[in-house]
């Protein structure tokens, strides 16, 4: 028993978080920044945070994750980080030549109160930023929100810094995805492309954190959204934001700053949510849904109808990030599963809690924010045992102790490969997900069947 000290009785806690179901803002901001072409994330604070964030992303993606740091020591912590930041800008442009430096703050620089806007202005005045290059920042204090908030803040900073309204509308639809895997970013682009929609999507980490091996190291891989396109998003005919918690702020800003009409939808995970996305795309772009997309949809529905008996009525519990969770719960509902518990450490807000409760229906425990951690989830599971668990790698301890199969769908995943190559969004992603679920449940059935009930054809 790896988590042998977790008692079944649920005790109220108000101060101690045990086995968190979230992490801190900068890691999300760093991930988002990697979705801009030729952008180097920079962490303003002491170097430990940056080392941790790079390591976490490196382990999750098994890819080089570049990022620099202001490397505060005690002096900078007392006197402020301006000189460290200015020196960083110098060294970064001479050594690594990025087009953009995307700065995220850490709790340290936030507590000191470093004013990055002023520091960057100072760098501009002092001619420290080469022509055509940009230094942008997002405020990402770790004592607020979670890694999802950090992602949202960096995405908002992209709109703030680059999106521009020139008055001449272009033909693009802007897509703003929430914190999802590069494979999911690809899938969303695939749907838009199949439908013949001209789109701008950012951030776009596909090709950056799942880049191919070609015998060279590319500091800035081919992927990522070029800043010209982010700029052009200010003139786009409309925008669709996917995943409310991760994109709301950016979507709103794009709307108010550039007057781009923006629809905010859920992440297209499962049939219902993907239908909504495709339909919105169809209407806003004025296109018809092509046969290829209908085929993808039809295949997913086909498999679901064929094998629904293996998933129908199965009990599931889920942990992860709010937007993905909303999609996954929707997917499970599409498949006729029963939702027992939904837990996210991200303080997703009362509205999210309410929508999630509406979606899951009576009898489901939904908890987000403070003390919504894996210790609590484990306690819940001991009281009401699901057939299946969705969550990140840290859930494997619960999964092993309780012998509940785990489907890895959240951040971080340190122990399995596939999440950055195989999507869970769109119809094709839905099919991947369904196959995963069926595999694991049918394997259970095989494993647990008495000899006389062991079947060849299933």
């Amino acid at each position: 028993m790896l988590l042998r000290h977790t008692p079944k009785e649920i005790v109220e806690r108000s101060a101690l978080t045990i086995n968190p179901a979230k992490t801190c803002q900068p890691v999300g901001a760093m991930y988002a920044a990697l979705g801009i072409h030729r952008c180097l994330p920079h962490s303003h604070g002491s170097q430990g945070c940056c080392a941790y964030h790079r390591s976490a992303l490196t382990r999750h993606y098994a890819e080089p994750i570049m990022g620099s740091t202001s490397s505060f020591t005690e002096g900078a912590s007392v006197f402020g980080g301006q000189s460290n930041m200015l020196e960083s800008i110098n060294n970064i442009f001479t050594l690594y030549d990025p087009d953009i430096i995307a700065v995220n703050t850490t709790c340290l620089s936030e507590v000191i109160g470093d004013d990055l806007k002023q520091i960057i202005n100072r760098a501009i005045v002092d001619n420290k930023i080469p022509p055509g290059k940009t230094v942008m920042f997002a405020s990402t204090p770790s004592f607020k929100g979670s890694h999802v908030t950090g992602y949202a803040n960096m995405l908002t900073a992209m709109v703030q810094n680059f999106a521009e309204k020139t008055g001449a509308k272009n033909n693009y639809v802007t897509l703003l995805p929430s914190f999802i895997e590069p494979s999911d970013m690809s899938e969303i682009k695939h749907i838009a492309a199949e439908m013949g929609v001209q789109y701008i999507m950012y951030p776009d980490t596909s090709g950056v954190v799942n880049a191919p091996m070609d015998g060279k190291f590319h500091m800035y891989p081919k992927g990522g959204t070029p800043k010209e396109l982010i700029r052009a998003s200010g003139d786009s005919r409309s925008a669709i934001a996917l995943g409310r918690v991760g994109t709301f702020q950016a979507a709103q800003l794009l709307d108010t700053k550039c007057k781009v009409k923006t629809d905010i939808l859920d992440l297209p995970i499962g049939i219902t949510a993907t239908d909504a996305f495709v339909d919105t795309l169809r209407k806003t772009a004025g296109v018809t849904v092509p046969e290829s997309i209908n085929t993808e949809r039809g295949q997913l529905v086909d498999v679901l109808c064929d094998k629904a008996q293996y998933v129908y009525g199965k009990k599931v519990s889920l942990m992860g990030d709010p937007d993905t969770l909303y999609g996954l719960v929707q997917f499970c509902k599409d498949a006729g599963m029963r939702i027992l518990h939904v837990v996210t450490g991200t303080p997703a807000g009362a509205k999210w809690d309410r929508r999630m409760k509406e979606l899951t229906g009576e009898g489901t425990i939904v908890k987000s924010g403070a003390q919504a951690d894996l210790f609590y989830l484990h306690q819940l599971l001991q009281n009401d045992r699901p057939d299946l668990l969705f969550g990140n790698t840290y859930c494997k301890y619960i999964s092993r102790d309780m012998d509940i199969p785990l489907i890895r769908t959240a951040f971080p995943i340190y122990d399995r490969i596939g999440h950055s190559y195989v999507p869970i969004t769109g119809y094709r992603g839905g099919l991947n997900l369904l196959i995963k679920v069926l595999d694991i449940l049918m394997e259970r059935q095989d494993r647990d069947a008495p000899e006389e009930k062991f079947e060849l054809v299933m």
Binding site: M1, L2, R4, H5, V11, A15, L16, T17, N19, P20, T23, C24, P26, H42, S46, Q47, G48, C49, C50, A51, Y52, H53, S55, T58, R59, A62, E63, P64, M66, S68, T69, T73, E74, A76, S77, M85, E87, S88, I89, N90, N91, I92, T94, L95, Y96, C107, L108, V111, P141, S142, F143, K144, D214, G215, K216, F217, H218, A370, F375, Y394
Partner: protein, 546 residues
């Protein structure tokens, strides 16, 4: 067809690398990139180490918190550890260092799989977080009833002035049978993880070691191993070997260890030190306070393991022990040799570079040497000058602003417990005969002249090095791993072992030989270039042409 590269001299490399830096940065780095020169057996050039990371440089380093909570305390299974700060720090130090631990029974305490944090929110950052920390300890006690609690301070906590020590004292009063202690290991302390090691050593020494006089383990020859963290099961293999020799391993600091072993660690006759950087302080302080001598060992590498075992046996001067030790060495080496020679036949002459840790870049050279690899360059992430140049330079290391903020404890002999394990005369006599106590010669004296020693090697320098020297193998950490591998060069992580191990001791050596054999000779890396990448396109012929 082997590719022939023009390799620069170390001197040329250094000059060219420095050119790209601003003069200020170049000046500093020129003192950290050193061309080794060993004179009179161990006189080596001076290196600048334990110096600030340059802002904006993509660095391999981490912070004091990582060194304290992650490295030194993390591997102890039954000290409940609470990170005081926002959620991130606690989250990232959760299980990623692969410290294995094996409680004796299923009932024994084991908190290794738990990550606890006060998860500070904005309000607490503004109004102070001590109240929440106290409440967190209350909750931890109510749920887990641990015998000891460690509290770890993070950057923001230090800044807002929360006093983790005061909270620890107050809570200890409330729960007198629980040992509660705090660590001022704020990330910005010092210049790297190293500061955190020191903070951890100090606190474990003042608050844990020496408070339990009754616990002991059976056996005649008792020792502690310091600076071994049981990554991938290393400590298990070392435990196996020393037990076979007839030694009693009282406690390992801190791999596969318990609070009880720590608190009674003064009840031994010898301390041996693996990772010099992370724990030499503790060895030194235990020598002064309790009279326990220490010396440096290395269980990485089969030869190094034998050498270390022989030195331990020699220390106790017991014929039976010496005989048993020799028997173990003979038995184990027979197995090792078979694999070693086979692997060596395929790896001999290949080259490697190592940038890792504050001891590993040295230790692993022994293992690589056993299968015939040549080391082109090596360096540490967070070492001090003594790890490079040897402890003889300790007196000449200048205390600067970044090291001054870590407390240097003044240690005196414990009036009750001080007991020199060997008398001063005996010690002097043995030293005269060449037996070394309390010494470490550092990495440089064991590396040939003209090799490049790079302290705090950064991303740019690593890339330059790969471009110019084309090593066959790189050893570093996870952040460097894929940078190297994208070029088609195999890279071995020496912090996490790429989720393999053990690599220490004899079985570990065999594992490591096989692993390096796989890395250097497996097919996968040969696919990095597609056939059409090397074939000129125009030479393609069509069926109808022939």
């Amino acid at each position: 067809m082997p590719v022939v590269h023009e390799t620069p001299t170390a001197e040329e490399f250094k000059t060219e690398v420095l050119e790209k830096y601003s003069s200020k940065v170049a000046k500093k780095r020129s003192k950290q990139i050193i061309i080794n020169k060993v004179e009179n057996k161990e006189d080596v050039p001076e290196i600048l180490a334990n110096s600030r990371t340059i802002p904006g440089i993509i660095t391999m380093r981490g912070c004091a918190y990582a060194g304290c909570k992650g490295v030194v305390l993390g591997p102890t299974r039954d000290i409940l550890q609470i990170t005081h700060g926002p959620i991130g720090c606690g989250f990232y130090s959760w299980l990623t260092r692969r410290n294995q631990t094996k409680p004796v029974t299923d009932q024994d305490e084991n908190y290794i799989t738990y990550a606890m944090s006060t998860d500070l929110q904005e309000d607490e950052i503004i109004f102070g977080g001590e109240k929440k920390l106290r409440a967190a300890i209350d909750e931890a006690v109510a749920i887990f009833h641990p015998k000891a609690i460690g509290i770890f301070a993070t950057c923001p906590v230090g800044l807002i002035g929360d006093d983790v020590h005061a909270v620890a004292r107050a809570m200890e009063e409330k729960y007198p049978d629980i040992n509660i202690f705090g660590f001022s290991c704020e990330g910005y302390k010092g210049v790297s993880q190293s500061a955190g090691h020191h903070v951890a050593n100090n606190k474990v020494f003042t608050d844990v070691v020496g408070i339990n006089d009754t616990f002991t383990k059976p056996g005649k020859f008792k020792l502690n191993i310091l600076g071994e963290y049981n990554i991938g099961g290393d400590a298990f293999e070392i435990e196996r070997i020393v037990a076979d020799c007839g030694l009693t391993l009282h406690s390992t600091f801190s791999g596969n260890s318990t609070y009880e072993e720590f608190s009674s660690a003064q009840n031994v006759d010898l301390n041996v030190v693996m990772c010099h950087r992370s724990i030499n302080y503790l060895a030194e302080m235990m020598d002064k306070k309790y009279g326990i001598p220490w010396f440096k060992v290395n269980f990485v590498g089969a030869e190094a393991t034998s050498k270390s075992l022989r030195k331990i046996a020699q220390f106790y001067q017991d014929d039976e022990l010496i005989k048993k030790t020799e028997a173990v060495i003979e038995r184990e080496m027979a197995e090792v040799e078979k694999v070693r020679l086979d692997v060596k036949s395929r790896c001999e002459g290949k080259t490697a570079v190592l940038y890792v840790g504050g001891s590993r870049a040295h230790h692993y050279q022994e293992l690589l040497g056993e299968i015939g690899l040549n080391i082109l360059s090596a360096g540490y992430e967070f070492a001090h000058r003594d790890d490079y140049e040897g402890r003889k330079v300790l007196g000449s290391i200048v205390i600067d602003a970044d090291s001054r903020n870590i407390e240097e404890l003044t240690i005196e002999a414990d009036p009750k417990r001080y007991k020199p394990r060997i008398s001063a005369e005996e010690r002097a006599k043995r030293e005269k005969d060449g037996f070394e106590f309390a010494d470490y010669h550092g990495m440089m004296s064991e590396m040939p002249g003209e090799t490049l020693i790079i302290d705090d090697c950064n991303h740019y320098e690593l890339e330059e090095l790969l471009d110019r020297f084309h090593p066959d193998l790189v050893c570093a950490g996870v952040k460097e791993k894929y940078v190297v591998q994208k070029r088609g060069i195999p890279m071995k992580q020496l912090h996490s072992y790429d989720y393999m191990g053990p690599f220490a001791g004899y079985k570990g050596a065999v594992n490591f030989y096989r692993e390096i054999d796989r890395l250097l000779n497996c097919n996968a890396f040969k696919f990095t270039k597609a056939p059409w990448d090397t074939d000129p396109e125009l030479s393609a012929t069509y069926g109808f042409n022939s």
